[in-house]
């Protein structure tokens, strides 16, 4: 059978919580091989959904362990021991604070940064995001400091939200004030980048030769760029600094690649392109992310299910209007029914992903044991555009640092960034400050 056909066929028939069949036989996961799930290998994962959620069907009525699972979260019910619902967190920098409209752009921009984005067309200024800070600190241990996945490409023509650059709505992860981390939206390219070094079908010798050639290219261009840099004015130099940063990062990767054991991931896992069905697309990207984690290609993952303000329709749910449009439901029953369905659909995809975190077993441990994972949105209620009381799930045991299984309520206006700080601390990453964070979030 044609391999690509079989995998498509397989995905189509896949139930909510099944892992891809080839995953079970991956090398590196056997007890005899190296153990990528040793306790120190904590992972940080962020999942983002746009346009908020319908909070009445998200927030449980009682606190503690014995809460009744709300309708939207029902697909996650079977994993209730593995996650907590955090209520009351606020991303203040997503609020206008004098900048006027643009809640969607700000919501995505501030979610992992806690920084107020600069509101201009054509120029961007934000701040490093929590995941990229983690990548900078612990990413050197793996081939890829972080993996940034998106299921919607960046902005096309025109503005994205009320005078904000499109970069804000379509990126969660920021390397620094002006550079969003590269977001990969094509599953085939994710596969090739992670597991084939960007090249297809080469043996060890060809690979060693290629790495040697690459090193020589990098030596040349680094020297060249430094020479040019001397003569540039400040604004141009910033651009060339981005270039030099990329060169150095790749140099480091090549150094690591030489010691690295090349994990054989079978060709049958190679996706063809972007599936037409959005659910299939989300699951495929999720599967690739799981594969990256379990083969330890990276320990930091950010996953943007759709760009903030996304107006995609959900025909598989029989929803013809756009998500963003519906989210402004003005309490109309039919629209609320639709928005709930979309929210729950996203949670189903989450459950599929979480199921795989649990299934990845190794000597009594699972990926779930070493994960700190956040699922949430920078907007609470899409109809009101408020940025307090954000919908946030905290998933995983964080190598024993997290106590999942509860509904935890925080005081009003507790900064979302305190959660980021707490998770960074869990990774052993100490930062002096992060956006508007005030300290480590308790009770997690």
């Amino acid at each position: 059978m044609n391999e690509s056909l079989s995998r498509r066929h397989f995905l189509r028939g896949m139930g909510a919580c099944m892992a891809l069949p080839w995953m079970a036989s991956l090398p590196g996961m056997s007890p005899a091989g190296r153990n990528p799930l040793a306790p120190s290998r904590s992972r940080l994962i962020y999942f983002y959904v746009p346009n908020g959620v319908h909070m009445p069907d998200w927030t449980p009525s009682s606190e503690g362990r014995d809460y009744e699972v709300p309708w939207i979260l029902e697909p996650m019910a079977e994993y209730r021991e593995h996650f907590s619902i955090l209520t009351g967190l606020t991303q203040d920098k997503a609020r206008a604070n004098g900048d006027g409209p643009g809640d969607h752009a700000r919501a995505a921009a501030a979610f992992l940064t806690g920084v107020q984005p600069l509101k201009t067309d054509g120029q961007i200024r934000l701040g490093p995001s929590a995941d990229q800070i983690a990548a900078e600190a612990i990413g050197q241990q793996t081939a890829f400091p972080s993996l940034v996945i998106g299921c919607e490409k960046g902005g096309n023509a025109g503005q994205c939200d009320s005078g904000y650059s499109c970069a804000y709505s379509s990126n969660l992860s920021w390397q620094n004030e002006t550079t969003p981390a590269l977001k990969e939206t094509n599953p085939r390219l994710v596969f090739e980048r992670l597991f084939r070094g960007g090249a297809s079908g080469e043996d060890g010798k060809a690979r060693a030769e290629r790495l040697a050639r690459r090193r020589s290219v990098l030596d040349y261009v680094e020297d060249d760029a430094k020479r040019l840099n001397r003569d540039l004015a400040e604004d141009d130099r910033l651009k060339l600094d981005e270039y030099l940063s990329g060169v150095r990062e790749l140099e480091r990767r090549i150094e690591n690649a030489e010691q690295e054991i090349v994990t054989e991931v079978p060709e049958s896992a190679r996706p063809e392109g972007v599936p037409r069905d959005f659910g299939e697309y989300l699951r495929l990207m999720g599967d690739l992310s799981i594969l990256a984690l379990r083969t330890d290609r990276t320990r930091v993952l950010s996953f943007l299910m759709a760009n903030e303000g996304s107006n995609r329709s959900y025909p598989m749910l029989d929803i013809r209007d756009g998500h963003h449009e519906i989210s402004h439901h003005k309490s109309a029953e039919d629209k609320i029914a639709q928005i709930r369905k979309i929210n729950r659909f996203h949670v189903e995809q989450l459950a599929h992903f979480v199921g795989q975190l649990l299934e990845t077993k190794d000597g009594g441990r699972t990926l779930m044991d070493d994960v700190q994972m956040v699922y949430g949105s920078g907007i609470s209620d899409g109809n009101r555009h408020n940025h307090d009381d954000l919908p946030v799930l905290l998933i995983g045991k964080g190598s024993g640092r997290l106590k999942p299984g509860r509904h935890v309520k925080y005081a009003r206006n507790t900064p979302m960034n305190n959660l980021h700080l707490r998770l960074l601390d869990g990774l052993g990453v100490r930062v002096d400050s992060l956006g508007d964070g005030t300290g480590l979030l308790g009770s997690v």
């Binding site: 096309n156 390397q175 020589s216 040349y220 004015a233």
Partner: protein, 777 residues
């Protein structure tokens, strides 16, 4: 006489400085529109001897004084227009207040007086090639088609375009992608064939994988299984594969063997031979380069106890070829041909110099060539060196970015001549330099073809014609002639697609969500047909030197059968678009195009607000400010009919802070209500008759789309807005205050009765913004 040397008498086009006609309330009035504004927003800080910045506005409360002080008011206009004043910390003036205030200044002071304005050409930030430019640049250099838009992430959009230097960032992982892309391009552009590659490769039993090792003599296959040779093939081509094998025969038929390439069976053999006299089985197979698994499989296992056991034994697999050794690519052959072997030791240097000049789009020094040469592997053969050089060059900053120097590159005399051709009586700002020929050629080529300079343009640059002129033409004449020439090349289609696709937001059609249950006729072919219609109209207006305002009311369009049927126009057959004269004006101009009407709709219904906003933003350059924070959005789903939509919008406008913008947006959008969500014509919506009449803020009224179009066409803001967008597109940066003078110059150069796109393009490339550069940020 150069256009910039003096102020021309004002043409009708330039008189409308900022505010579109249709947005102007009845004639501006000083006492009503200006005095209250100054008192409310300015005087608190700018009054009396202690005024901020020494800018005392209290004297200007008198109209005669205000009218006499051009400079102060021009300054004031720009600060308010840019939103710098009042400062952000103060309450913002409402949109209507600002508009009336600016309208008075426009009326009283007219356009910028260049005599008081130092010439400032602005400064584009270092621009990385975007994905489209990258693909075109690689193709021009090597002939390789690289799917850059698929391979690279989407380019960030700024000021409406995806090639703005300040917006295009370069994340770490993107650099890695550039290197991967360079390797892939070089693999296709340079064939690295060495004679040693032709040597056959032999895999004996101990080299094979799979089956049972028979003391290194053979691999025994006792069940339905296979044994394989794994190798890496450097070159594609037709190879001869030979398998040495024999069978232990039993049962009704002889052994059968299958040859598989990467697990796909390509040939079947009957193996009648036995151990005493093994057989050789050969097949000629086309193979791709890369990882290769050659397998010999046993396909008819047979075992019956006490009767017989059939098994297959494979002694070796070998591969020879390719029978058709790869030839150098056209790119390679061309380079080698132009730098023949007779150059001896200098050959490599000569080749590299050629390659680098093309890739960097300017001459290179010998030292730079030598540095590249030093980085290449020694003794690996010319093809391997060329491959490595190409990979390197394709990731150098000077390939990936469009460098413009901050130090002078022209000699002082020539630079001075260019300056004085612009300045005349106008002062020149300090820290300005004139671009050299190579920089100009690069700007020109990427502007009009999204690609590097072609051979003719390079020859012009090498001869200095773009800065000094040729024997029979001035520099500006040469530049304009090059514009005309480039517009005739097929590459100029990139300009049409990239400019019009973004200006009109036609690209957004690719991502639009349509309710296909309601519109089963919607499909990819129809979508592409819609887009193509608008591109072709733009192209016709461009190439036929039509009045640009025909974009809004052309009496012809371009349809194929599918789109014509969508429009209810008969007698257009086939999938190809062709020019169609329009019998009625229903579909005249862009506002009758399904493309524009669809991108401004919601998935299942029209949105007059979106349409109105689109017109204000893209056709009139007057984007409405974002709605107040508590405005909420119109619940269009509650509307059962078009008339109730009209009513609800009217209700909405009763709120003064909404009315400011919606008084303009809503009527514009409602005027197009006869067009449904995918541009389908309709007389009724949900049973209600459609009323597409309206009144605009300036008091002009229209009965429907046709009259609305005429109003927009006659508004000078349209040509001005188009010129501004073209200038942004040409420079790759947002416009600054100083660019108003450039726009004014461009508009002044147009024929008032027949403004053309070519006229605007000429005006832009002649302008100081295009030919000079500020050397400090």
């Amino acid at each position: 006489m150069p256009r910039w040397s003096h102020l021309r008498a004002l043409a009708a086009l330039t008189s409308a400085a900022i505010i579109p006609l249709i947005l102007r309330p009845t004639g501006p009035d000083f006492e009503r529109d200006v005095v209250p504004f100054l008192k409310k927003h300015c005087l608190e800080c700018h009054e009396g001897p202690e005024a901020e910045e020494g800018f005392d506005l209290s004297a200007h409360l008198d109209e005669a004084t205000a009218r006499a002080a051009f400079d102060d008011w021009d300054y004031l206009r720009e600060r308010v227009l840019d939103g710098e004043m009042p400062p952000r910390s103060r309450p913002r003036p409402g949109g209507a207040e600002v508009e009336s205030f600016l309208a008075w200044i426009d009326e009283a002071h007219g356009p910028v007086d260049l005599r008081f304005r130092p010439l400032d050409p602005g400064r584009p930030v270092l621009r990385r090639l975007n994905a489209r430019e990258y693909a075109n640049t690689v193709r021009a250099l090597t002939g390789v088609e690289f799917a850059a838009e698929e391979f690279f992430p989407a380019d960030a959009v700024g000021f409406g375009f995806d090639h703005i230097g300040a917006s295009l960032s370069l994340p770490d992982a993107l650099f890695e992608k550039y290197l991967q892309a360079a390797e892939q391009v070089a693999d296709q552009a340079v064939v690295r064939w060495q004679d040693a590659d032709a040597a056959p490769r032999h895999f004996g039993a101990s080299d094979l994988e799979g089956g049972n090792d028979r003391n290194g003599a053979a691999r025994g296959l006792y069940t339905r299984s296979a044994t394989s040779a794994n190798l890496h093939l450097r070159h594609p081509g037709t190879y001869t594969v030979t398998i040495e094998a024999y069978g232990q025969q039993a049962g009704p038929e002889p052994c059968k063997m299958a040859l598989s390439i990467n697990r796909r069976i390509v040939e079947n053999f009957v193996v009648e031979e036995t151990r005493e006299a093994p057989g050789k089985f050969t097949a000629s197979v086309p193979l791709e380069a890369g990882k290769l698994q050659l397998s010999a499989g046993f396909v008819n296992d047979y075992y019956v106890k006490d009767e017989g056991d059939r098994n297959l034994f494979v002694q070796s697999i070998s591969i020879a070829g390719p029978s058709d050794p790869p030839q150098p690519t056209a790119f390679q052959a061309d380079l080698l041909g132009r730098h023949p072997e007779s150059l001896g030791k200098k050959r490599l240097e000569s080749i590299l110099s050629d390659l680098m000049e093309r890739a960097w789009r300017r001459p290179v020094s010998r030292a730079e060539v030598k540095r590249l040469e030093k980085s290449l592997p020694k003794d690996s053969g010319l093809a391997a060196q060329l491959h490595q050089a190409l990979v390197t060059v394709l990731v150098t900053p000077r390939f990936l970015f469009r460098f413009e120097a901050d130090e002078a590159l022209l000699d002082a005399e020539r630079e001075q001549a260019i300056f004085s051709s612009f300045a005349g009586e106008r002062p020149l700002r300090e820290q300005v330099r004139a671009l050299d020929d190579w920089e100009l050629a690069t700007r020109l080529a990427y502007f009009l073809t999204s690609a590097p300079p072609d051979a003719i343009l390079r020859a012009r640059a090498a001869a200095g014609h773009l800065t000094a002129g040729s024997s029979d033409a001035t520099a500006t004449e040469v530049l304009c002639a090059e514009v005309d020439r480039l517009l005739q090349t097929p590459a100029s289609r990139s300009f049409v697609r990239n400019f019009a696709g973004q200006w009109l937001q036609l690209r957004n059609l690719d991502r639009i969500a349509i309710d296909t249950e309601r519109f089963p006729e919607w499909n990819l072919a129809l979508r592409e047909a819609m887009k193509l219609e608008s591109y072709l109209l733009f192209e016709a207006v461009l190439r036929e030197d039509r009045d640009v305002r025909e974009l809004l009311d052309a009496d012809f369009t371009f349809l194929n059968q599918e789109l014509a049927e969508h429009y209810g126009i008969e007698e257009v057959q086939g999938a190809e678009h062709r020019r169609v004269s329009l019998a009625s004006d229903q579909r005249a101009g862009l506002l009758g195009h399904a493309s524009v009407l669809t991108i401004t709709s919601n998935p299942a219904r029209t949105s007059p607000v979106k349409r109105g906003k689109w017109i204000l933003e893209n056709l009139l350059g007057a984007p409405p400010p974002p709605p107040p924070a508590d405005a909420g959005s119109l619940d269009e789903s509650k509307l059962v009919s078009a008339s109730s939509l009209r009513e609800q919008l009217a209700e909405h406008r009763a709120r003064p802070d909404c009315a400011v913008c919606h008084d303009a947006m809503d009527p514009l959008g409602l005027g197009l209500e006869n067009f449904g969500p995918i541009g389908n014509w309709r007389e009724q919506d949900q049973g209600g008759a459609i009323d597409s009449s309206g009144v605009l803020p300036d008091g002009s009224s229209f009965a429907g789309a046709t009259e609305l179009r005429a109003l927009l066409r006659d508004d000078p803001a349209f040509v001005r807005t188009l010129s501004e967008r073209l200038l942004i597109y040409a420079l790759g940066r947002g416009l600054e205050r100083s660019d108003r003078a450039t726009i004014q110059g461009v508009l002044a150069g147009l024929r008032p009765d027949q403004p053309t796109l070519r006229g605007i393009l000429h005006g832009i490339v002649e302008s100081p913004a295009f030919r000079l550069r500020r050397t400090e940020p």
